[in-house]
Symmetry: C2
Subunit: 138 residues, 2 copies
C-alpha cells in the first residue's frame, strides 16, 4: 500500500476526533448505525500485536480498554465488541462497538449483514464525541 489511510486519519477527520492518547488516537466512526462505534488506532504504523514489545502492547491495550470503558459508560450497551482485523488497512486499528439487544443484527457480529451507513449532523457528532471524551478517565 503506497498510502495508508490510517496514518492520516487523525488529520483527515478533525470533526470526528475524540482524543489523542499517548500511543493511540481515538475517533468516532463516521457511520453511526451502531451508536457509539469508535476507532482506536496507533499513532505509529504497526500491524500485528506480536510485532510490538510487551510494554507497548500492554500500553496500547490499556488505551483500548479506557475507550471501551468510556463508550460503555456513555451508552450502557449489553456487550462491547472489540475487533482488530486490518485485512484492508493493516495499520493497527481497533473497532470498539457497543452492542444492544435492540440493534438489528443482535446477537450476530456487526459484519453479518450490510446496512445503509448512518451519518450524523455536525451538531450530533460534536455532542457524541464530547460525551465519550468526558468519560475517558486518565
Amino acid at each position: 500500500m503506497t498510502h495508508c489511510p490510517m496514518c492520516t486519519k487523525w488529520d483527515d477527520e478533525p470533526s470526528h476526533r475524540i482524543a489523542e492518547l499517548e500511543h493511540c488516537y481515538v475517533t468516532l466512526n463516521a457511520d453511526q448505525f451502531f451508536p457509539g462505534y469508535c476507532f482506536v488506532f496507533t499513532k505509529n504504523h504497526v500491524t500485528e500485536l506480536f510485532l510490538l514489545d510487551k510494554t507497548s502492547r500492554c500500553a496500547i491495550i490499556e488505551e483500548v480498554n479506557r475507550v471501551a470503558a468510556a463508550v460503555y459508560a456513555v451508552f450502557t450497551p449489553t456487550k462491547m465488541n472489540y475487533e482488530l482485523l486490518g485485512n484492508m488497512v493493516p495499520h493497527m486499528h481497533w473497532h470498539i462497538v457497543p452492542r444492544f439487544t435492540t440493534d438489528p443484527l443482535w446477537p450476530r457480529p456487526i459484519w453479518s449483514e450490510p446496512h445503509t451507513p448512518l451519518t450524523l449532523s455536525p451538531a450530533e457528532i460534536s455532542a457524541r464525541t464530547g460525551l465519550i471524551r468526558t468519560k475517558l478517565q486518565p
Copy 2:
C-alpha cells in the same frame, strides 16, 4: 444464562485442546473453514476487558498474543484477525483467525458471508493442534 458453554468448553472438547496457559485455555475451532482458527478463552467467567484489573488484563493479552504468534508461525497468513465479541456467550473468548488473500471472504471479515463448516478428521485435528502447540513459546 444458566449454563455457560465456555465454562465447560475445555472439558467438552478434549480432542480440540491446544494448551492450558496460566489464565486461558486454547482450543482449535471445530470449524476449520479458516485454517488455524483458534479460541483463547479465560479460565474464569469474566466478560468485559474493563472488568479485569490491569495485571490480569495484560497477562490475558500476552496469552492471546502468544497464540496469535504461534498460529502465525505455523500458517504464515497475510494478516491475523483478533476478535472479542461475546454477544451470544459473554464469557471472554477471543477468535484468533489467520487470514489469507486466497480465502474466499478475503479481505472482508469472516462473518460477511455464511459458509458450510469444515470439520477435520481426528488425525487432522491432532496434527493441527500439535503444530500450533509446538510453536507456543513460553
